[in-house]
């Protein structure tokens, strides 16, 4: 039994506590073969008019970021990108998005319009349309001004199965660029608005980048966007779910010096900080050069790098090799990121 009688903020952090909440409260009631697989999208199968099987991916995400506008993006760009990315890491081509808006009394109309413009621009960038929506208004002071929910549907045209159970020893891990920019840009904007920073969120729709990678090779076996909980959560989860040993090379992981400095200042581990435009790909070793080349040609993948591999050791652990040659375990973060005392 959980010791929590009430929800704490860390239940929403995408870490161990989120897992526990889902495992103890949600899955016992709502679990089924699709939901319980806990991937970024649920995949349902149906038949087309010609009798051929059709695989559809569906996903949903809510956005409660503060501040609503931050360096490099805003809640609207986040809402489109997050849902597009959850579809395309499952190999789906996004077909359309639904948008739910919960607005608080007193929200400036100009801010709403700014966010809607951003939604339109990001959707255009991703080549997708908002095809349905809903608007609700709640009392002043509720919903932090604005909460958004987006749901997406996508078509899986490839017969590839992107799943942790496809991962095997020898596979390589690729990430498309520097980590931790989103979380730190937002955190600095929220917690230290007086600090002028050069950090920008990486929030972006990745469907173009992922399509290019998938065209370059049929040997991408699994993908996940490294959002809440950061690269640490995704890598530790990959180890646990594949049952294999994931090894990261710390010195190969792209990280801007200014991001590292901000993380050190706030007492946070960049590995555990959220990204909104980064995907971790697991590829067969022979496919890595072609996938990397395809990523490097795309504007969102110019700093893509091989950052680790899967080793044949069935312990379900993720380990990182440090720049000084040491090794340590990478665990899934607890939840809410807490700055350290000193």
């Amino acid at each position: 039994m959980t010791r929590f009688t009430h929800i704490v903020l860390a239940h929403g952090g995408g870490g161990q506590l989120t897992d526990e909440l889902v495992a103890q409260c949600v899955l016992p009631r709502l679990g089924n073969a699709v939901l319980s697989d806990l991937l970024d999208s649920g995949i349902v199968q149906t038949q087309g008019a010609d009798g051929r099987p059709l695989r559809l991916a569906t996903t949903i995400d809510s956005y409660v970021v503060q501040p609503l506008v931050f360096p490099g993006g805003d809640i609207g760009r986040l809402a489109v990108s997050g849902t597009v990315n959850d579809l395309c890491v499952c190999g789906a081509r996004p077909l359309g998005l639904a948008l739910g808006m919960i607005l608080a009394e007193g929200l400036e109309r100009s801010l709403l319009e700014q966010v809607l413009d951003s939604i339109q621009q990001t959707a255009a960038e991703a080549g997708i349309k908002i095809v349905t929506g809903d608007t609700k208004v709640v009392g002043r002071g509720q919903a932090d001004g604005m909460y958004l929910t987006t749901s997406g549907i996508g078509m899986i045209e490839s017969d590839l199965r992107l799943h942790p159970d496809q991962v095997r020893a020898g596979d390589l891990l690729i990430i498309n660029g520097p980590i931790a920019d989103h979380g730190l840009a937002v955190m600095l904007a929220r917690e230290m608005p007086q600090v002028r920073s050069v950090l920008h969120s990486d929030v972006a729709p990745l469907n173009g980048l992922i399509a290019a990678a998938m065209e370059s090779s049929r040997e991408i076996v699994f993908m996940r966007d490294a959002t809440r909980g950061g690269l640490a959560a995704v890598a530790a989860d990959l180890a646990a779910r594949s049952g294999l040993h994931v090894v990261l090379e710390e010195s190969s992981i792209p990280l801007r010096p200014e991001t590292l400095h901000a993380a050190e200042m706030l007492g946070l581990d960049p590995l555990e900080v959220a990204n909104e435009g980064k995907v971790l790909m697991v590829v067969r070793p022979q496919a890595a050069p072609a996938v990397l080349e395809a990523l490097h040609r795309h504007p969102l993948g110019q700093q893509a790098a091989i950052i680790g591999c899967i080793e044949q050791k069935a312990d379900g652990l993720c380990e990182i090799r440090t720049p000084i040659g040491g090794r340590r375990i990478v665990a899934k973060p607890y939840g809410e990121q807490l700055p350290r005392i000193c």
Binding site: R3, F4, T5, H6, I7, V8, L9, Q16, T18, D19, E20, V22, Q24, V26, A33, V34, L35, S36, D37, L38, L39, D40, S41, G42, I43, V44, Q45, P53, A57, T58, T59, I60, D61, R161, P164, D165, D237, A240, R241, G243, L266, G267, D269, D315, G316, L317, T322, I324, G325, G326, R327, R328, I329, A331, E336, L338, P339, R340, I341, C342
Partner: protein
């Protein structure tokens, strides 16, 4: 030695060479949570010679905070009309009645602040609320707590108070050594604390106990170089204090910070987790600042309670056992459901050990919510991002 030019491979070579020449097991103690975490994060432990051990002593502010102090903090945070401002680390420490995080989920107004002055500002902006700041930490955080009290006094902010559980490192080291509780070959001394108190502050203890000590910074190569030097000193029988973190650390330290501390606080007898009450080892408000004492204003006595049954945090802090030797470690006590403070704090030895050094079996116990990899046919469904 210019630490920025240290090459890690050369440092490790020196460490191994000195360790090889000693021909016996040596152990050193660091007394700083940042050293604990940095050593684990860098994987330094995995690169150390088998006969050199780095123990984590009473250096993590959260870990050494007594259960009674934590209960007092939670009691303050749970009072109506009180906003409790705290550094992030204290949020999850569990007392007899849950943690601040849980108190917050039940309606307590608990806020994480990055600066003590944010708490003073919040108090000034919200005169109808009582704002209590949890003043925790060693000499590194004490000046900021003192500055907040001075600022509140200067601005006449009457709804701001502090709950003080600041600790001092020298009396703690003295207590460890004089009682014979700790037997180590030397200390790796904390750079940050030393910036405030200065290298000279250690000299009486170094002389009295014939210690080998190195003041070190926090980069991987700083810690490794400190350890290499300590091992060389053990090999050569050198007992002295060396400062490898200059020019940041001077002999005299930061006199202004020291002056601010002593203006507001005076040494007092305080209780340490695992060590008990040590005379003069903490800071208490001077009588002229008693109006800023939250314990007095809200009538919150400290009630020392026994430590949780089975918890060996006290022994871990003393280096008497490793976290893995505690029966609760990795089973009943994990970061998600911590029993002892060394597991709660991200700087705590148990959490660092659990996160960075645990074995596969501990991981499987921890990953109770992870299901085994799905074994489904290729067309079966996938799930949602929960």
């Amino acid at each position: 030695m210019n630490v920025s030019s240290i090459r890690i491979d050369q440092v490790l070579q020196r460490l191994h060479s000195a360790a090889g020449a000693i021909g016996r097991a040596v152990s050193f103690m660091e007394v700083c949570g940042t050293h604990t975490v940095a050593a684990f994060r860098s994987g330094l432990h995995s690169l150390m010679p088998a006969n050199v051990r780095l123990l984590s002593g009473p250096g993590c502010p959260v870990c050494v905070t007594s259960q009674g102090d934590i209960d007092q903090l939670i009691a303050a945070g749970s009072l109506p009309n009180v906003t409790l401002c705290t550094y992030g680390d204290m949020l999850r420490v569990t007392g007899a009645n849950g943690s601040l995080e849980q108190a917050r989920s039940r309606g307590a107004d608990v806020r994480v602040v990055y600066s003590t002055l944010d708490a003073v500002r919040f108090a000034a902006d919200n005169p109808q609320r009582q704002v209590v700041f949890a003043a925790v930490g060693f000499e590194t955080t004490a000046p900021a707590s003192a500055a907040a009290v001075l600022e509140a006094a200067h601005l006449n902010v009457k709804n701001f108070t502090v709950l003080v559980s600041h600790k001092l490192i020298i009396p703690a080291m003295d207590a460890l050594l004089s009682s014979g509780l700790v037997k180590v070959d030397g200390f790796l001394l904390p750079g940050h604390v030393s910036i405030i108190i200065g290298a000279d502050a250690y000299r009486p203890a170094v002389k009295q106990y014939g210690l080998s000590c190195v003041i070190a910074g926090f980069e991987d190569q700083h810690i490794a170089a400190g350890l290499a030097r300590l091992t060389e000193m053990a090999r050569d029988g050198v007992r002295q204090l060396e400062n490898q973190y200059y020019p940041a650390v001077t002999d005299a330290g930061n006199r202004h910070a020291q002056q601010v501390i002593s203006q507001v606080f005076e040494p007092g007898d305080v209780t340490w987790r695992g060590l008990g009450t040590i005379p003069g080892s903490g800071l208490v408000l001077r009588p002229q600042y008693a109006a800023f004492d939250a314990a007095q204003r809200f009538g919150l006595p400290v009630q020392e309670v026994p430590e949780p049954p089975g918890c060996r945090c006290g022994e871990v802090i003393l280096g008497h056992c490793t976290p893995a030797e505690c029966k609760l470690f990795g089973t009943a006590c994990t970061p998600i459901r911590a029993i002892g403070p060394c597991m709660v704090s991200s700087e705590g030895t148990c959490q660092a050990w659990f996160k960075y050094k645990r074995t596969a079996s501990a991981n499987l116990q921890a990953a109770h919510v992870q299901r085994p990899p799905a074994q489904r046919p290729a067309t079966a469904g996938q799930g949602v991002d929960a």
